[in-house]
């Protein structure tokens, strides 16, 4: 069978295509698993500067939990420049949105009524006026792709602070967008697949 000249390229084709399919499946499933098993939090969006930042076909989202005041940070700041990640404890506030209760460069212990999000890695360097008054972080939910031309509505709502995002957080603190709503009415609901 292996004498057939087509045998080797055929095996190569199947291996290569399988590997590539597996990677695409992994991309899709790692997001779906967050939506399936995660805890939902409702997040308030904040206007983005510059205000008109519709990049191609996605809207840039920023949240009030993206800015973390220095006094919320427990366990101190790193003394040396480093690639850092923040653990951020989110708790439900009286207005229904979830906000930052505390954050730490190290791990945080789980606590009832709160969830812990992990920020995307960012580069931290100590500044002369140490510590900074606040830190800006991302959570991997800053982009929302929309059909061509539909971005404007979201942008305006975002800039009017009327846009709310419901996100799921899994046990590792990774987040994915589940629902985008304007003035409490769901506009986009994300299916698992």
């Amino acid at each position: 069978m292996s004498d057939n000249p087509i045998f080797r390229p055929l095996v190569a084709a199947i291996v290569v295509a399988l590997l590539q399919t597996a990677f695409l499946g992994y991309m899709i499933e790692s997001r779906a698993s967050i939506l399936r098993s995660g805890v939902d939090v409702v997040l308030k969006t904040v206007p983005v500067d510059p205000r008109d930042l519709l990049r191609g076909d996605y809207v840039i989202l920023a949240y009030d939990i993206s800015t973390i005041p220095a006094d919320k940070i427990t366990g101190g700041f790193p003394t040396e420049a480093m690639d850092a990640q923040l653990s951020v404890r989110l708790e439900k506030q009286s207005d229904g949105f979830w906000g930052v209760a505390e954050a730490s460069f190290g791990p945080l212990a789980p606590k009832d009524g709160s969830v812990i999000a992990r920020s995307a890695p960012f580069y931290y360097y100590p500044t002369p006026d140490n510590p900074p008054s606040s830190l800006n972080v991302e959570y991997g939910i800053e982009r929302y792709y929309v059909p061509e031309g539909e971005g404007r509505v979201l942008e305006e709502a975002r800039n009017a602070s009327a846009l709310a995002v419901t996100a799921s957080i899994d046990d590792d603190g990774r987040m994915q967008i589940r629902v985008i709503s304007i003035d409490g009415k769901p506009l986009y609901e994300e299916p698992l697949y």
């Binding site: 087509i6 996605y58 991997g140």
Partner: protein, 368 residues
């Protein structure tokens, strides 16, 4: 090109009666029948594949909402399978050009698929990470199919990773560290080029190595680094171009490129050293070193390697102009420097000519 030059030489040798007309014809026919020989049809086929890939990528970018997500994912995965399986069938039947074109289509479509999935599922991932995955996929496919065309794609994707890191400002020494992967990517591409016999694609890897080292100096502008670049380049150049070196035979298989790019690295080191020099003594020393390296490069590798020869001449000329404009101390000082240089180079020329004549005489005697 080589094909044109050798045909001209054959005609001369045939007309002088040194070579039989039939033998010359047979040699040219053998050359034309080789696998790696340029074929317009094959090149156009791969270019067509690249254009079709671009169409697929743009289709993705248009974000066609009318079709349900899973259908879109299924469609693009089916495309990947169809392209690779078609490639396998073509290669199995010996249609190498079509096979290469399908491999290019499959690999480009995978890149499109990563973008499509990221876009549909709102994954705000890192572009450099996506490119790294794409690069890895191209390498695996090039290895599995032993495909020269995919080695070329890998070379371009390695460049894309480097470019993306620079654009993301992640290329700083203290950034996310991906920039340290680049030498690894270069080694991978060179290994693939050798394994798949991809010829010209090695220049992508060597140029990336030069760009990366240049970037390293921009990030870390220190005298020792500039000196290290020069030393490293000179050492590598000598290793690949001196016949007594253990690497000589290995490097000769790769053609003129190893000698040229190591020589270029030495020159790059010298060029940045010029920015670090201070005072007449240092400038004279560096100027003399640069001229010496340019002439040395021509002497060591210039006879067989046209690229090194031209770079040597160019560096020599530019350095002379630089020294003339820079003025070493005073115009009189510069003049003195050129006077001494002229006498020294003249002496060397006389020595080299005598040496070449003796070498030619001995080989002529041996020939009889």
């Amino acid at each position: 090109m080589y094909r044109g030059r050798i045909e001209k030489d054959f005609n001369i040798w045939v007309s002088k009666g040194m070579l039989g007309a039939d033998a010359a014809k047979a040699m040219l026919a053998e050359y034309d029948s080789r696998e790696t020989v340029f074929s317009a049809g094959r090149v156009l086929l791969v270019l067509a594949a690249v254009l079709l890939s671009a169409a697929i990528l743009l289709l993705v970018a248009a974000n066609w909402e009318a079709i349900p997500r899973l259908v879109r994912v299924g469609g693009i995965v089916a495309l990947i399978w169809a392209f690779y399986l078609s490639a396998a069938v073509c290669l199995g039947r010996g249609w190498r050009g079509m096979g290469a074109a399908f491999l290019v289509l499959g690999t480009m479509t995978f890149g499109g698929a990563i973008a499509l999935v990221g876009q549909m599922y709102h994954l705000s991932g890192d572009a450099a990470e996506a490119l790294l995955v794409w690069f890895a996929a191209a390498c695996v496919a090039a290895l599995a199919f032993r495909s020269a065309a995919l080695s070329v794609i890998s070379g371009f994707l390695a460049w894309a990773v480097f470019g993306q890191l620079v654009m993301d400002n992640d290329a700083s020494l203290a950034g996310n560290g991906y920039i340290y992967f680049i030498p690894g990517l270069i080694v991978l591409v060179i290994a693939l080029v050798r394994y798949t016999n991809a010829g010209a694609a090695r220049h992508l890897a060597y140029l990336l190595a030069l760009a990366w080292l240049g970037w390293l100096y921009l990030e870390l502008p220190e005298v020792w680094l500039a000196a290290a670049l020069f030393g490293l380049g000179l050492l590598a150049f000598l290793l690949v171009s001196l016949p007594m070196s253990p690497l000589y035979r290995f490097a000769q298989e790769a053609g003129a490129a190893p000698a040229f790019y190591s020589f270029a690295l030495a020159i790059l080191g010298l060029a940045v050293l010029h920015a670090e020099m201070d005072g007449v003594g240092q400038e004279v020393a560096l100027g003399a070193t640069t001229l010496g390296v340019a002439l040395g490069g021509i002497a060591v590798a210039g006879r067989l390697n046209g690229a090194v020869r031209f770079l040597g001449y160019a560096v020599f000329a530019v350095e002379i102009l630089y020294l003339a404009f820079e003025t070493l101390g005073s115009i009189l000082g510069t003049s003195g420097f050129f006077l001494i240089s002229g006498v020294v180079v003249g002496l060397i020329a006389w020595l080299v000519i005598r040496l070449e004549k003796r070498l030619a005489a001995t080989s002529a005697v041996e020939g009889i």
